[in-house]
Amino acid sequence: MNLNLKVWRQKNTATKGGFKLYRVENISSEMSFLEMFDVLNEQLIHEGEDPITFDHDCREGICGACSMYIDGKPHGPWQANTTCQLHMRAFKDGDTIVVEPWRANAFPVIKDLMVDRTAFDRIIQAGGYISVNTGNAVDGNALPIPKDDADASFAAAMCIGCGACVAACKNSSAMLFLSAKVSHLALLPQGNPERKSRVVNMLAQMDKEGFGACTNTGACEATCPKEISLTNIARLNQEYLVASLTDNK
C-alpha cells in the first residue's frame, strides 16, 4: 500500500517544530508501524534528509520506549497495544497518517518524535520501591500472599512506563502511572512499612514535575497498552487520603 505521512519534525528542545509531509510506497500489511518508519528513514537518508528520530528498543511491546501519537491516539488505533506492535494491517492504501510526539510539558521533545520521560524515573525515586538491601530478605515463602492480592498487584505492576496515559489525558496527568506503582506495592504486605510515605512523596514529585491533576475521564485506561485499570487511581486516592488523615506530625 502507499501512504501519506504527516510527521512532527523538531530539531531539538529549544527550536520550534512543525509538520512535514512524506510519502511511502509499497508498504506491506505485515510490517509493523516502526518498520514502515524504517523504510521511510532509509528513503530520507538516500535523499539526503535527516531521518526521523523516535524512541524504540525491544519492538515487542514490553520495554515501553516507543511513543508515537498516531492519528489522535497514543500508540495508534489498536487498543491494548504499543506503537511497535501496531501493524500496517490497521491502515489502508492511500491513508494519510498524522504522527505527533507525546504532548505534555513534563515530557519535553528531545528531537522529532522523541520525548524526555525522565520525570517518571524521578517519581519512582521519590518512593516507588521497597527499602530492602540486598541480603536482607527472608525466605520467599515465609510470607504467604493471597493469590488475588498477588494477581492484582501484578496487574498494576505490568505498567511499562511508556507515558501513553499522560499523552491521552486532557490534563496531562500521570495519575495512572503513579497509581499503578502505588497499587503494585500497596497490595503486597512487603510494601506496608513505607505505604504512607510512599504515596505522599510520589504524589508530591508528580506535582512538582508538572503533570496535571486527574479528573477521572478514563481516557488513560482505554489507551494503556497494558490495560492498567482506572480502579488503581481510586486506590491511590484512598491511600493518599488515609496517609494524610492519619499523619501524626
Binding site: 537518508i45 531521518p51 528520530t53 525515586q125 540486598t134 504467604p144
Partner: protein, 657 residues
C-alpha cells in the same frame, strides 16, 4: 595464560570459603571508591543497587532513556532457583548438574555451582522487593517446568518475569539514586575503556542527546552490557542491544571467550518478509502445553486443522521420548531446522513448524469439567473451558502472536521457527567475574561464564541477578580493598585525553566517509552472512567464506557508509554506525572461533561433527577448553585456552531420549 582463580577445596565449599577469606573494604573507605556500571539490565541494575547500598560511589550508564528499559525486561518465561518448593527432588546439585549438562559440558564447574548455590537467595530478595511472582491459592509461590529439566523449579510472573524482576532491580537502583549513592547517566553510551598501567580506571562515554564526549573515572568498571545476538541483524534482542562496550574492552586487552556459542531459540515467530527488523520470541514455557509437529507428507499444503492426527509427525516426541517437547533449546532448534530442510516446513515460507495447543485445550477442558462434576461435557464446552485455562496461563503471549501474525492461535496452531536469542560467549572472566584487565569486570550475558555452549531456559535471569546481587558485591571488594591506597585519577590525565581523542577521531572518520550505503543495509548484509554461515549449522568451508566476506564488508563499510546529520546532536544513525562497525569485527571473530572448534557442542553445531542420528558430537579430548581470544591487531587474534576440569561431573554425550 589466563588464571581463572578458582578457589581450592571441595566444590560445595569453594564459594563459602571464598567469602570467608576475601578481602573487605571498611565502610569509610567504600565512600571513597568509585565504581562505574555499564548497562542497567538485571546484572547492571542489581550490581549498581547493591554496591550503592554497601556505600560505594556508583555511576551507572545506559543508552536507553531509562534504566527500566534494558532488554532484560523482555524475558518472558521465568527464573530458576533450587528451592525444591515442589518436593520433586530438586537441589543445588541438581540445578548445577542440569546447567552443566545443558551447557554441553563446556562451562566451569566452580562458577556454575556458585550460581546454583545463590539461586535461592535471588527469589527471596526479589520477593522482598515486591516482585509479584505467580502464587498458588494458599498464598505460596508457584513453579513451572522448563526445557532441559525434569523438576519444577521455575518461578514466574505470567509471561513477564523479566519485566517484573527488572522493575524490582530498577526500583532498588532508583532508591540508591534518590539516596545519592548512585548517579544515573541515561542516554549515554560507553565508547572506550581508559587504562593506566594495565588497570582499567574509567571510561569515555558519549551523551547521546548532545553528542558530547565525557570522561568518567572509576576504581573499577563493570560491564553489564548484555549479549551480542544483534550481530545476526535479526534476533530477539532489542534494536539497541549491542556489543560495543564489550568490544571496546576486548580491543583494550580483555579476552573474548567462546564467541561462537550462540543460542538459537526454537520458538519464535517466523520471518514474514524482507522488511523485518526483529524477531519476537514466544516463551519456552509454551512448550509445556504446546505440541510441536509438521505434516508427515512433504510439502503438504493443507491447512493445519485439515491434517488428520495420524498424518502429523510430532518429531520431538518421536525422537526424544523422555523429554519430548521439553528438550533443551539447541536440540529443539536443530530438530526444527532439520525438518524444514528436509521439506516438511509449513506456512508460506516453509520455514516454520506448528506449535499446537488443541490437545492441551481439551485436556484442561476435561479437568475443568471434572471439577464441576460434569462428565458428559460436549466437545464445544470442553474447548471453551480449556481455552479459558490456556488464556489464563499464556494469554499475553497469544495476544502478541495474534497482533503480529493476524492469526488466532486459539483456533489455528502457532507457526514457529528458531531465531537467535542469547549469546553464551562473552568477555572472559575469572571466578571473581574479573576480565584479564584488572579493575574491569563483566557480568550477566556480557560474560561467558556459566552457560557453556548452551543455556537452559530461565537461567539467564538467574545468572544476571546472581552476578549482580550476590557474587560481584563480594568479589569486587577483593580488588577494591587494595585500591583504597589509590586516589581517584583526575580525568585530565593523559590516558583520558588520549582515549577521548581515539573516540572522537573514530567518530569523525565515520562521519566523513559520506558514502552511499546506509548503516542499516550493512547491518542486514552482515546478518545474512552470519545467519547463513555461522548460524544454526556451520561448516569449515562456509566459515572460511564468511570470514572473507566479512573482511570485504568491513572495507566497504569504512569507505561507503552514509551517516546523515552531525556529531553534536541526537543522531541515532551515528550511534548505530558505531555499533555496526563493532559487530562487523565481532562477526569475523565468531567465525574464526567456530572454525577453530572442530566439534559440535550445544549451540555450536558443525555439520562435519555429528552422530549418525544427527546429534551433536563433542570432542572432549581436544576441545574441552574455553577458547579465549586476545586481540592482536586488525583481523588478528591469539587463542588462549583455558582447560575445563571436571572434578565432580563426568561428561557424557547429552541424552534427552
Amino acid at each position: 595464560m589466563l588464571d581463572a582463580k578458582i578457589p581450592a577445596g571441595a566444590l560445595d565449599d569453594k564459594w563459602t570459603d571464598y567469602k570467608g577469606h576475601c578481602k573487605l573494604v571498611n565502610p569509610a573507605n567504600k565512600r571513597k571508591l568509585e565504581v562505574i556500571v555499564i548497562g542497567t539490565g538485571l546484572a547492571g541494575a542489581s550490581a549498581a543497587a547493591s554496591l550503592g547500598e554497601m556505600g560505594y560511589k556508583v555511576k551507572a550508564f545506559c543508552f536507553q532513556d531509562s534504566p527500566r528499559r534494558a532488554h532484560s525486561i523482555a524475558a518472558q518465561g521465568g527464573i530458576n532457583a533450587a528451592k525444591n518448593y515442589q518436593n520433586d527432588g530438586d537441589s543445588v546439585f541438581r540445578l548445577f548438574y542440569d546447567t552443566i549438562k545443558g551447557g554441553d559440558y563446556r562451562s566451569r564447574e566452580s562458577n556454575v555451582h556458585r550460581l546454583a548455590e545463590v539461586s535461592a537467595n535471588i527469589i527471596d530478595q526479589c520477593v522482598a522487593q515486591g516482585v509479584p511472582f505467580a502464587r498458588e491459592y494458599g498464598g505460596l509461590l508457584s513453579n513451572r517446568s522448563f526445557g532441559g529439566t525434569q523438576v519444577q523449579r521455575t518461578f514466574y510472573a505470567a509471561g513477564q518475569t523479566g519485566q517484573q524482576l527488572l522493575i524490582g532491580a530498577y526500583q532498588a537502583l532508583e532508591r540508591q539514586v534518590a539516596l545519592g549513592n548512585v548517579k544515573m547517566y541515561s542516554r549515554h553510551e560507553m565508547l572506550e575503556i581508559v587504562k593506566i598501567d594495565g588497570k582499567a580506571v574509567g571510561i569515555i562515554a558519549r551523551d547521546l542527546i548532545t553528542g558530547k564526549l565525557e570522561r568518567h573515572f572509576g576504581h573499577a568498571t563493570l560491564l553489564c552490557s548484555g549479549g551480542y545476538g544483534n550481530v545476526f541483524y535479526l534476533s530477539t534482542n532489542a534494536m539497541g542491544s549491542n556489543v560495543t562496550a564489550a568490544w571496546k574492552a576486548h580491543k583494550k586487552g580483555a579476552a573474548f571467550a567462546n564467541p561462537c556459542y550462540t543460542q538459537i531459540h526454537p520458538t519464535c515467530i517466523p520471518v514474514s518478509g524482507d522488511h523485518q527488523s526483529k524477531l519476537t520470541l514466544m516463551s519456552e514455557s509454551l512448550r509445556n502445553d504446546g505440541r510441536i509437529w509438521v505434516p508427515k507428507q512433504k510439502g503438504d499444503s493443507r491447512k493445519p486443522n485439515e491434517i488428520p492426527e495420524e498424518e502429523r509427525d510430532y518429531y520431538l516426541e518421536r525422537r526424544y521420548p523422555a523429554f519430548g517437547n521439553l528438550v533443551p533449546r539447541d536440540v529443539a532448534s536443530r530438530a526444527a531446522k532439520e525438518r524444514c530442510d528436509e521439506g516438511y516446513g509449513v506456512g508460506s515460507s516453509k520455514q516454520a513448524v506448528y506449535l499446537d495447543f488443541s490437545e492441551a485445550i481439551i485436556r484442561y477442558g476435561k479437568i475443568e469439567a471434572g471439577k464441576e462434576g460434569n462428565d458428559h461435557a460436549s466437545q464445544e464446552d470442553l474447548i471453551k473451558l480449556g481455552k479459558d485455562v490456556v488464556k489464563e496461563k499464556y494469554g499475553n503471549l497469544f495476544d502478541m502472536y495474534a497482533k503480529i501474525t493476524g492469526e488466532d492461535p486459539y483456533e489455528v496452531p502457532m507457526r514457529i521457527y528458531p531465531a537467535v536469542h542469547y549469546t553464551m560467549g562473552g568477555l572472559w572472566v575469572d571466578y571473581e567475574l574479573q576480565t584479564n584487565v584488572p579493575g574491569l569486570y563483566a557480568l550477566g550475558e556480557a560474560n561467558f561464564s556459566d552457560h557453556g555452549a548452551n543455556r537452559l531456559g530461565a537461567s539467564a535471569l538467574m545468572q544476571g541477578l546472581a552476578d549482580g546481587y550476590f557474587v560481584l558485591p563480594y568479589t569486587v571488594g577483593n580488588y577494591l580493598a587494595d585500591e583504597i591506597y589509590n586516589k581517584a585519577v583526575a580525568t585530565s590525565h593523559a590516558a583520558f585525553e588520549e582515549a577521548e581523542k581515539e573516540v572522537s577521531d573514530r567518530i569523525n572518520r565515520l562521519m566523513n566517509i559520506k558514502g552511499k550505503q546506509t548503516v542499516e543495509s550493512f547491518h542486514k548484509r552482515l546478518g545474512k552472512i552470519m545467519w547463513n554461515k555461522c548460524g544454526m549449522a556451520r561448516n569449515a568451508q562456509g566459515l572460511q567464506e564468511a570470514i572473507t566476506e566479512i573482511q570485504a564488508l568491513k572495507k566497504e563499510f569504512w569507505s561507503d557508509v552514509k551517516i546523515p546529520g552531525s556529531i553534536d546532536e541526537m543522531n541515532p544513525e551515528l550511534d548505530k554506525a558505531n555499533r555496526v562497525a563493532d559487530f562487523i569485527e565481532l562477526g569475523e571473530l565468531m567465525c574464526k572461533d567456530a572454525l577453530n572448534r572442530n566439534e559440535s557442542c550445544g549451540g555450536h553445531f558443525r555439520e562435519e561433527y555429528q552422530t549418525p542420528d544427527g546429534e551433536a558430537l563433542r570432542d572432549d579430548a581436544n576441545y574441552m577448553y574455553v577458547a579465549a581470544w586476545e586481540y592482536a591487531g586488525e583481523s588478528n587474534w591469539n587463542l588462549i585456552k583455558e582447560p575445563l576440569v571436571y572434578d565432580v561431573i563426568k561428561p557424557t554425550q547429552r541424552n534427552y531420549k
